[in-house]
Amino acid sequence: MRTLVLAALAAAPLAAAPAAPPKPALPPPPAEHQGRDYIKENGYQGPKTCEVCHEGTARKFLDTVHWKHASKVTNVEGVDPKREWGMKNRSYTFCNANDIVNNLKEIPANEKGKSKIVGCNSCHPGNHLSDVGSTGPEAEAAVDCLICHASSYDYSKRKAFKTADGQVAMGQDRSVEAALTVGKPTVKACMTCHEAAGGGPLVKRGFAFDAEHDVHAAKGMVCVDCHGAKDHKVPTGFDPNNWANDGLRLSCAGCHGEKPHGDPDYDRHTAVLACQTCHITTTGGAVAKDFTSWTKLETGFYEPSTIKRAAADNRPAYAWFSGEVVNTPHLIGPKGKRGDGKSKIFPFKVYEGHAYFDRTTGKLLLMDFAQPTATGDTKAGVASAAKTLGLKNVDPVPGWQTIYFANSHLVTRTKALTCDRCHSATGVLDFQALGYSKAEIEKRGLRGAGLWFDKLLKKEQGKDE
């Protein structure tokens, strides 16, 4: 039963169109890693040790989004479906940088004489010498298996440093102590990277996966209970702003089915509403950032000026979403409309980003963070990124971009939207904006208590008995 409940929501939107098939029940994993004795006797030498039993796994891992930070993308307008896209090479205003232009490196000293080694690819599970998308035996040997799989990983060893020949490398904990704690990734293992993305704890997606904020976490589930990988390819849902994928999709229906409520009125809604719309009523994290004017910190470094909310401290916006994505310089968002046969209404975290666009082409310009982090000079960062990308004569002008993020965690059962939260004069859904005519809203009483009063009253009275 647990396995059935598992796959559900955590991740991205309930794929409206392609519903994932129910997961088969899998046998429980062994309580203890069977390679413990081997590791005790032979020590731990990274993937070489893992491969004694898990042969070929490192090579396969190199073909995953976790290693490539990119994949082919077929649901986003304006991108070449034959190329791979992801945080390796994308441009958008939540980060305004990517692995290429903001590669891990030592930045110039700030006015206090401090420097540091930073870059977008600091979370890449390699050693940076074998970097994002690298292949071959060296790359296979560089995989940091334990960063995800060891429950007792010494993070002080995972710090960037300079090698004797001046290259920037990322350290790893390859101790026997850590290797003896391998298992399926814990919530912490996932969230160490996924929670810190985009400028600090809970800034990007703005959800906390803990018992206070998510019903699945409260039941003791972990990320990979839903995002259960196959050959290290991790299933995800559809998200206007998360393009790279391993080709595996998941949805709430995979565990909960299409009619999960035991109430025909609620179940009827699943034809037009994603589960998240009623069961994820909050959002959080950054609501806006300004990459054209950075804020000076007490440390003497600068960071993008950011307005943020705590986890679950904001309200989502609602829109039809078919899984296809609008992608223009000033909007990255959901495509879809009522009655197209493939869209449902989803909740989204909406974010506004201020950055530089090229006056001539109108395209968003990326930024190398080294210069602005040290001095606050954002145009120097744009110039450096343009140089890396081989762009000439860029003419930066400030502009805004709106981004819709899937709102797929912070799942609640007890605080889900009830009839009165949508079907009232002040309900959370703007039916007209969602494509319902005034006449239809009136005729069907979509904004009135007549639609639900008797039903809810009966339920309320039932609670008291």
Binding site: S122, K188, G199, T299, E303
Partner: protein
């Protein structure tokens, strides 16, 4: 009469302020020089921070998230930390203890 009212109002304001002192958090930005924790599951730890002027402050940490970062060494000596704390029973108890922001 007006003067009397003013004095009375001032007295009330003073009494209220004294009864519920709204004490602001102290702040320090400094490098961790020492972390003392009795074990991975300890409920409390102390961290010594040295600010840019060389002054050391011993901070008591009680929140689970930060303790967890000490336990798995996501925060170690040498890291720069932005800290806010309140003085409680003679101890500097952290209300905020994090590496300064920014993409890294």
């Amino acid at each position: 009469m007006k003067t009397l009212r003013l004095i009375a109002a001032a007295a009330v304001a003073f009494a209220l302020a004294a009864a519920s002192p709204a004490r602001a958090d102290e702040k320090v930005l400094g490098k961790v020089t020492k972390i003392e924790m009795s074990g991975k599951d300890a409920k409390v730890a102390t961290a010594t921070l040295q600010d840019e002027a060389g002054k050391s402050v011993v901070i008591t940490v009680e929140d689970k998230v930060t303790l967890d970062k000490f336990a798995d060494k996501r925060i170690t000596p040498g890291d720069e930390i932005k800290c806010k704390y309140v003085v409680k029973d003679g101890k500097n108890v952290a209300t905020f203890f994090k590496k300064p922001g920014g993409c890294s």
